[in-house]
């Protein structure tokens, strides 16, 4: 009888843990889906506001000089870091995806290195871009060097619809 009681308790605990985990998973996915759908409905606005976040960089941050400017080694290292951390959202060739905007647009390419560094450091958390200050400062500058080595897609801002048509993912 005692064994039966113990086995029932063990099974009940595991059952409760499984149900709890399932309920928890469903709640998290429901909420994050709702957030994503809300964001998805306003993707264009998000992309615009992400570009607009570049303008929020303080003047002092904007004026910072890139210590690796023009350094081909830094471009290569920045490209490697971009592949490791950024392609997931910005696409293989930085052309943008449904998750994040193109980095070839004029808004980005015409920005100062300091402004790009500031965005990388602070992210645009409310729009889904995480902060990247977990990368050392030198690595963030290497990514900036790589971004500024890319060929601009167009010197004039395109419509966001045509931009999203070029998405790679």
């Amino acid at each position: 009888m005692k064994t039966g009681y113990v086995s029932f308790r063990a099974v009940r605990r595991i059952g409760l843990a499984t149900i709890g985990a399932a309920v928890f998973g469903i709640v998290v996915l429901r909420i994050s889906t709702a957030v994503a759908q809300k964001q998805g409905a306003a993707t264009d606005k998000i992309k615009e506001s992400t570009y607009a976040a570049l303008a929020e960089a303080p003047e002092r941050a904007r004026q910072r000089k890139n210590p690796f400017e023009g350094d081909p080694q830094a471009v290569a290292a920045g490209g490697k870091l971009f592949q490791q951390h950024c392609v997931e959202c910005h696409g293989e060739k930085a052309g943008g995806t449904s998750k994040a905007p193109s980095l070839l647009r004029e808004e980005v390419q015409a920005s100062t290195p300091g402004a790009l560094f500031w965005i990388l450091t602070n992210g645009v958390v409310r729009r889904g871009m995480p902060v990247w200050s977990k990368l050392p400062e030198q690595q963030r500058w290497q990514i900036v060097t790589f971004l500024q080595s890319l060929k601009p897609q167009s010197l004039k801002p395109q419509s966001l619809d045509s931009q999203s048509g070029n998405n790679e993912r």
Partner: protein, 308 residues
């Protein structure tokens, strides 16, 4: 008879078997997902302010080998499923178990954890709010949080005796973290409340500092580049409870930590924690392995017919 065999199987095999099975299942299910190179800190106990990237799932397995005076040494293990719900909210599920040598292997409970980024931008000190609910037994030995007057002697009993104690706890932490010249410094003050009304609030802390071995990235993809390694040290322990706060009858650990972020998207962590007083286990040897999957949230949404 059938129930008895199943019960025996679950009790003996569940803790070691299920986490590994879950990882294998997840790896199989997520074979269509791309993985992503994670730049993980080496901390095992301390948290810094970085959250999981939105939509990504990180699966982590950790082991702790602990020495035990007045009892049997043990190997405790836990699996973490960490999901970036948004850029400011990360949620996590832990499943814990342990093997006490010359005794038994037991499933010891689960934990649900949420971390909320409180400020949108980076500051000198960056705060993150941590909320955790845990439902574990007294046999839980992962020692990820040393609270109140926790000490080595609490775990000296047999698993059968320890499992009779149940903890339903709420934990609150303030994760404070700062970066300076490549160094990260993190401090986690913590309060814990067993949800039984008779139990007092308990206090604890964890602090840590770490740094990548190289701050500049090399141009080539490499396994052994210094930039792939991070090293540091963490210290953690209890600070008493609401009825008797302070350092008396508490345990504390100092643990050098190292992480190796592999270009193949895996991260390995090692830590050897040394007990700093007589209440502490002499040695807590920990290691962990983790893998990060990008696009997990999108894949699940697609599975249920949601828009990507």
């Amino acid at each position: 008879m059938g129930t008895h065999i199943i019960s025996k199987l679950i009790r003996q095999k569940f803790p070691g078997f299920i986490p590994i099975l879950l990882i294998l299942l997840l790896l199989l299910c997520s074979s269509s997902l791309s993985s992503v190179w994670a730049q993980e800190s080496p901390y095992i106990v301390t948290y810094n302010h970085y959250l999981e990237e939105p939509g990504n799932l990180e699966v982590e397995y950790f082991s702790t080998f602990g020495t035990q005076r007045g009892g049997n040494d043990f190997h405790a293990f836990w699996t973490e499923f960490e999901y970036g719900a948004t850029a400011w909210w990360t949620t996590e599920l832990y499943v814990d178990g342990q093997t006490t040598f010359n005794d038994s292997t037991v499933f010891t409970g689960f934990r649900l954890e949420h971390r909320f980024r409180l400020l949108q931008r980076e500051h000198l000190v960056n705060p993150v709010l941590y909320v955790e609910y845990e439902q574990i037994t007294g046999a839980d030995k992962i020692l990820k949080e040393i609270e109140g007057h926790d000490g080595e002697s609490d775990l000296a009993d047999s698993n059968a005796a320890l499992r009779k104690k149940h903890k339903h706890e709420l934990e609150l932490k303030l994760l404070l973290s700062s970066n300076f010249k490549g160094w990260n410094v993190a401090a986690n003050p913590m309060v814990t409340k067993n949800l039984l009304p008779s139990e007092p609030w308990e206090f604890a802390y964890a602090i840590g500092t770490s740094r990548p071995l190289a701050l500049k990235a090399s141009p080539n993809r490499c396994n052994f580049c210094l930039e792939n390694f991070a090293a540091g040290v963490e210290m953690y322990g209890g600070l008493g409870n609401a009825q008797s706060a302070g350092l008396h009858d508490t345990s504390h650990y100092l643990a050098p930590v190292v992480a190796w972020n592999l270009p193949s998207d895996w991260t390995l962590r090692l830590s050897s924690g040394f007990g700093l007083n007589d209440n502490s286990h002499r040695l807590l040897l920990r290691w962990g392995i983790s893998h990060e999957f990008s696009g997990f949230g999108e894949a699940v949404r697609r599975l249920f017919g949601g828009r990507p």
